[in-house]
């Protein structure tokens, strides 16, 4: 799922710090704005915009964090509005809903663990590529 690769160059101290911060960003925003999934994406997006002129290593990790947050937004938004509709409308609690919520929780916990792991390793200057997101980032982010 998570592959450690050698980056095209050896990132500097401040570059590693910035790249690691892009992952921390989503975690901090998660605590600050737990019920609304879009806040995380916005926080990561603004961080990406702030670093769009940064070095390749920083931009690469900002893009990976942004992509992971984007898929989180889609999955979490469906879960969020489904729950709201059950609470406030005539929609009933079904097995499908419970199954979906379990999937959402599993996905969130996996993403949460992966983000913490990546933030720690990126801070040390290690280049960490995620399954699927890593390849996608390679396509989007060019040196």
């Amino acid at each position: 799922m998570i592959i450690t690769k050698k980056f095209v160059y050896e990132p500097g101290e401040h570059e590693a710090e910035k790249a690691s911060n892009s992952y921390l960003m989503s975690l901090i925003a998660l605590i600050a704005a737990l019920p609304l999934p879009i806040i995380n994406l916005l926080a990561t997006l603004f961080f990406y915009i702030g670093n769009r002129k940064g070095s390749f290593f920083v931009r690469w990790h900002c893009t990976q964090a942004l992509l992971s947050q984007f898929s989180m937004l889609l999955i979490n938004s469906v879960g969020f509005w489904w729950t709201i509709s059950i609470i406030f409308t005539e929609e009933v609690l079904s097995s499908k809903f419970i199954a979906y919520i379990i999937t959402v929780l599993l996905f969130n916990f996996t993403e949460f663990a992966a983000t913490i792991y990546t933030a720690i390793n990126t801070r040390k200057g290690v280049h960490v590529e995620w399954w699927f997101y890593g390849n996608l980032t390679n396509l989007i982010c060019k040196n």
Partner: protein, 111 residues
Amino acid sequence: MDSQKVDMFIMSNGKFFESHQVMQIRDRLIELDDSKWSVVQTMQFKDPTISLIVSLLGGSLGIDRFLIGDTGMGIGKLLTCGGLGIWTIIDWFLIMGATREKNLEKLQQVL
């Protein structure tokens, strides 16, 4: 310029710049004409740690952005109450890098 002078400058001002840019700055300073040394030597740079402290205390009013010279962003932050708190949090992580970039821009005006 004399490499000893440049090394002395890097030693005392290195913390104001991104670590990966320090070597480029050193090379460019060595190529620089001796007449500009007095200008370079007397330049005042913003401390990234100070801007982080200001960001933590007055980030929601945009004071950190005013401090580093981003007046437009500062006003934007002030009017939106720190982007409803989100921008403030993002800036806690961005401000040190932004300060170092501003310092580099300032130095580049002389180089």
